[in-house]
Symmetry: C2
């Protein structure tokens, strides 16, 4: 397995910040038609009449932007073997077409797995920011990573 | 606004259970290529060699299935005006191609908004189950709904 990054490479305090990604109005409405067809995600006119005053991205899509920027930034080169879950997703600001989004990660805690000696457990803060440096989405994620020292054994 | 369901229609203990939805292998890999291109979501052969032993859906896609079934089931006919966030998303079981998924919702708490008298706040448990009645994803969500009694004022 040609992993570049292992559990040992994500100590407490490790940070990452991505480049930017925008969602066009067409990308927002296409995603929403598939997965979250509420009127303020799918329909410009209905969105203008809603409390948001215009089209906004589904929070699920903003979370997906975070996931994609994470994958491209470091996760796909890592020994990550999954996630038990995500806590405290906060949708803090609306995301509008052409907002310039970026992803920021910080390791809050990194510890050995108590049940699986080949793995470590990393707790993260993951934020999505816009072009005004406002945090639009914030969440606390947990992921499992294989340890560098044991990949020879399990690989 | 032609809403059928308002805050008052979602009291504590209200439940909903959807029909079923499957994700094909092609739908799993297409979603993952866009949003979560980890090897066990995008590549059958790499997935077989991973700890999952085969292709599994991105947890984000399973969450999106919940959202879509919720929208189709009751949300799009409701006065929902958004969500401040989701707590405690748990990815409990892998979701594999052709698993028969369904969505279950239960109101845990319904209260008037302290800051916006035209709104109520509903706290939910949202689960996704498979054909073996296993909960594959569980989460706690919060949503805001307009109150029936005030729509005449704000509509």
């Amino acid at each position: 397995m040609p992993f570049k990054h292992f559990f040992e490479d994500f100590p407490r305090g490790w940070t990452y910040e991505s480049g930017t990604r925008t969602l066009s109005a067409a990308e927002i409405t296409a995603f929403a038609r598939d997965w979250d067809p509420q009127r303020y995600h799918t329909d410009e006119a209905a969105a203008r009449a809603s409390p948001y005053g215009g089209l906004i991205a589904s929070g699920w899509q903003t979370g997906c932007v975070a996931m994609r920027l994470m994958c491209d930034g470091y996760l796909n080169d890592s020994s990550c073997v999954g996630s038990p879950g995500i806590d405290a997703i906060q949708f803090l600001k609306p995301v509008r077409p052409a907002d310039s989004l970026r992803f920021r990660a910080e390791v809050l805690e990194a510890r050995a797995s108590s049940s699986r000696p080949d793995r470590g457990v990393v707790r993260w803060r993951w934020d999505v920011l816009n072009q005004r440096d406002e945090v639009v989405l914030s969440m606390l994620g947990t992921q499992f990573f294989l340890r560098r020292s044991t990949v020879g054994i399990i690989g």
